[in-house]
């Protein structure tokens, strides 16, 4: 590639969500020991079983080492310099309604385009969709959940997990850790010990959730980690589509985000989980930014269940995440659609695991990695066909696109097949935004920045079409904004 594309790849975009909300918070001093775990559990007035569950996780975590196999480089995280709990002060006792919420907080979400006032959402005031219920998590606590009543009519439970522990203890106890065990991995164990909030969803048998559900995560406080825990259970024949979004202020220090998401789909149930991840990526020299170390896994527990992950990852200094599906039920289906865009010195190591156990199980993996600047973008995926998975099928397509000469794209596909009846297909391509494509656009009057954005959007089309309509547009815009920075 000649220099002209390279010249386009310059500084960072304005990170539009990078502001700090000036609000008084109750923040635990940095450091982690058993008392911190007990403090968090106590703060949420949790039952004893959960306190013990956390402590078991904490004991396990102390014996574990941080994973080093990912294709990313960063200085070791100093876990004793992180605060493990932060809540806006006004919310310490929990808001009863939006009227109790600090107006400064509401303005934060307004700035981010997340509607928390239901009437505004219905009127479409804040570039929103009336068919989306939102749970907003600010640092360690959930601020509000919209449309609870309407959802309750359908029998759908959608609330902060800290609330579900009290309102639906039997469901939480039964499913928490059932897909991602406490000791699953280093960061999952840490999360299990100190998770503060997150969303809980239960869709009863045969119910089609009447609206999109959405959780919006925001890190605000300095030196805090965010450890949310999301649990979604779709009972037999139920159907739900869920979206999460994430942003954080621009800060010079790295901040840790170690979430766990568990999905359970019973017989004939379907869960569609979409992520638009836009955590602060750090500046052009890699100062600051979020470490996004996340464990996401879904279990197709019954026959004919379907779990579909779609992710658009543009933020974070480092991303380490592999949304996976365990296909236990016969005829169950797992899907993973991913767009990961890295710029400047961002590093992403992301992909999926498809674990085939049931007969006639089917999985599809479509991964699109785009690297610009000096970033490193890695796809890592595992397809495992167990001896019991008669006639399992997998199709994998990994496409990488490089913009400029200083970035890297890497693909590590692992296939473990223990059943000769399986059909496994793998396709991979690496391409560059070519001078020819860019010139062709420019010759028709399209400026280079818009041209790169259009070419990259075209490259990602197969994934964007999997997003709920309202968010596909958002994702396209987000990509454009992220690239605007890359090709300034």
């Amino acid at each position: 590639m000649s220099e002209s594309v390279d010249d386009l790849v310059k500084s960072n975009a304005d990170y539009k969500a990078g502001f700090v909300t000036d609000i008084e918070s109750d923040t635990l001093p940095p450091g982690l020991d058993e008392s911190v775990v007990r403090f968090i559990s106590n703060k949420k007035a949790e039952p004893d079983w959960l306190t013990q569950w956390r402590l078991q996780a904490f004991d396990a975590w102390r014996e574990m080492d941080a994973p080093e196999w990912a294709h990313v480089q960063f200085p070791p995280v100093k876990f004793d310099e992180i605060s493990y709990y932060s809540a806006p002060k006004a919310l310490t006792d929990g808001p009863q309604s939006l009227d109790d919420v600090d107006p400064e907080l509401l303005r934060t979400y307004e700035k981010l385009g997340i509607p928390l006032h239901e009437q505004e959402a219905l009127a479409g005031v804040v570039q929103s969709n009336p068919n989306v219920a939102v749970d907003a998590v600010f640092d360690s606590v959930s601020i509000t959940t919209t449309f609870k009543d309407k959802l309750a009519e359908a029998g759908v439970v959608f609330c902060p997990i800290s609330e579900a522990v009290h309102s639906h203890p039997e469901l939480v106890q039964r499913y928490l850790g059932s897909v991602v065990p406490q000791k699953d991995n280093f960061y999952a164990a840490l999360n299990s010990a100190v998770f503060s909030d997150g969303s809980f969803v239960y869709i009863p048998k045969g119910v089609r959730c009447p609206m999109e559900l959405s959780t919006y995560f925001r890190i605000n406080e300095r030196n805090t980690g965010q450890f949310e825990r999301t649990l979604i259970v779709a009972d037999e024949g139920a159907h739900v589509s869920y979206l999460e979004g994430c942003t954080a202020p621009m800060r010079d220090e790295n901040q840790l985000h170690a979430a766990v998401v568990e999905l359970v789909a019973m017989e004939g149930a379907e869960i569609k989980y979409s992520t638009v991840q836009n955590w602060y990526p750090g500046d052009e020299n890699g100062k600051g930014g979020i470490y996004n170390f996340v464990t996401k896994r879904g279990l197709c527990a019954g026959a004919g269940a379907k779990i579909s992950w779609t992710q658009v990852e543009t933020g974070s200094a480092i991303t380490w995440k592999y949304p996976s599906v365990v296909l236990r039920g016969d005829d169950s289906v797992g899907e993973f659609y991913s767009v990961a865009l890295t710029g400047n010195v961002q590093q992403a190591d992301t992909g999926t695991k498809m674990i085939h156990m049931g007969r006639n199980t089917k999985s599809t993996i479509i991964s699109k990695g785009i690297s610009t600047g000096r970033s490193q973008n890695t796809y890592r995926g595992l397809v495992r066909i167990s001896p019991t998975a008669q006639n399992a099928r997998n199709f994998t397509q990994c496409d990488s696109m490089l913009i400029g000469n200083s970035c890297g794209a890497h693909t590590f596909p692992y296939i473990e097949n223990s059943n000769p009846s399986a059909t496994i297909e793998h396709e991979a391509t690496t391409s560059k935004v070519s001078e020819d494509q860019l010139f062709a656009c420019q010759q028709r009057g399209i400026d280079p920045e818009k041209a790169v954005s259009m070419i990259v959007n075209g490259f990602c089309k197969e994934v964007f079409k999997e997003l709920p309509m309202e968010f596909a547009v958002e994702a396209g815009k987000l990509l454009e904004v992220s690239l605007e920075g890359a090709v300034g």
């Binding site: 220099e3 010139f439 062709a440 028709r444 818009k450 070419i455």
Partner: protein, 247 residues
């Protein structure tokens, strides 16, 4: 004033001089054919005029509507009315033809501070143009040139030409690789573009195209310079005698 005025143009590719003092004047309403043997610099001329990266002008000037455009970026030249129909149209996977055409039109309208065309009118026009070029309207929904045949790609270039309505069109061997039917369709498109306000530069190897698009002037390019100019009969002479007698 001439539409295009090229004076003493020298240009290099990878440090090698390809154009060595080229002069060319195109007035509005004229069609100029540029012919010449392989390696004479025909495609280089097209790319230099359009401002393709990698083609360096070392001396001389190129005036479009009186402005020296040598330092202008390619998209700015396009805004000023320059259009290049590519010899090898490139594929842009996932970007639909329709999306690409609309983005081009919008960008040009924006640059000229003109109103952007409405979506409905645009779609109607694009469909009509596609039909007039024997292209199935379905192809507008497909990715730009993605899986198009050679002939479809070339007709797509002509569709863009007719939609964007530039003042100067440069066709870089648009006839190469076309069968006789496709050639006629392309020629009809170019003739439709011809007007008292527009100029055309046809770069071609073959006299065949000039049977359908009759040029006002024919030039012979050899070793980076125009060595001979004449009327349409020059092309016939070239067909008969080749280029050797000129050099």
């Amino acid at each position: 004033m001439s539409l295009l005025e090229v004076r003493g143009l020298h240009a290099t590719v990878d440090g090698k001089e390809i154009l060595k003092g080229l002069d060319l004047t195109v007035r509005a309403g004229e069609v100029h054919a540029v012919m010449g043997p392989n390696g004479s610099g025909k495609s280089t001329l097209a790319n230099v005029l359009a401002g393709r990266p990698g083609y360096t002008v070392t001396a001389g000037e190129v005036r479009l509507d009186g402005h020296n455009i040598v330092d202008w970026e390619p998209h700015v030249r396009a805004h000023a009315g320059m259009f290049l129909a590519f010899q090898y149209p490139v594929e842009i996977p996932g970007v639909s033809n329709m999306e690409f055409l609309k983005a081009s039109l919008d960008a040009q309208a924006f640059a000229r501070q003109a109103e952007q065309p409405g979506a409905a009118a645009f779609i109607k026009q694009a469909r009509e143009l596609a039909a007039s070029l024997d292209l199935n309207p379905e192809f507008l929904k497909r990715g730009v040139n993605e899986g198009f045949s050679g002939g479809e790609k070339k007709r797509n270039e002509i569709l863009q030409l007719l939609l964007l309505q530039p003042s100067l069109a440069i066709l870089d061997e648009t006839d190469s690789g076309l069968d006789i039917d496709a050639l006629q369709v392309v020629a009809q498109g170019v003739n439709r573009f011809r007007s008292a306000e527009t100029g055309v530069i046809l770069i071609t190897h073959y006299q065949r195209l000039l049977e359908y698009i009759v040029p006002d002037v024919v030039h012979v390019l050899a070793d980076g310079k125009i060595v001979q100019s004449g009327d349409k009969n020059l092309a016939l002479t070239l067909e008969e005698k080749g280029y050797a007698w000129l050099t």
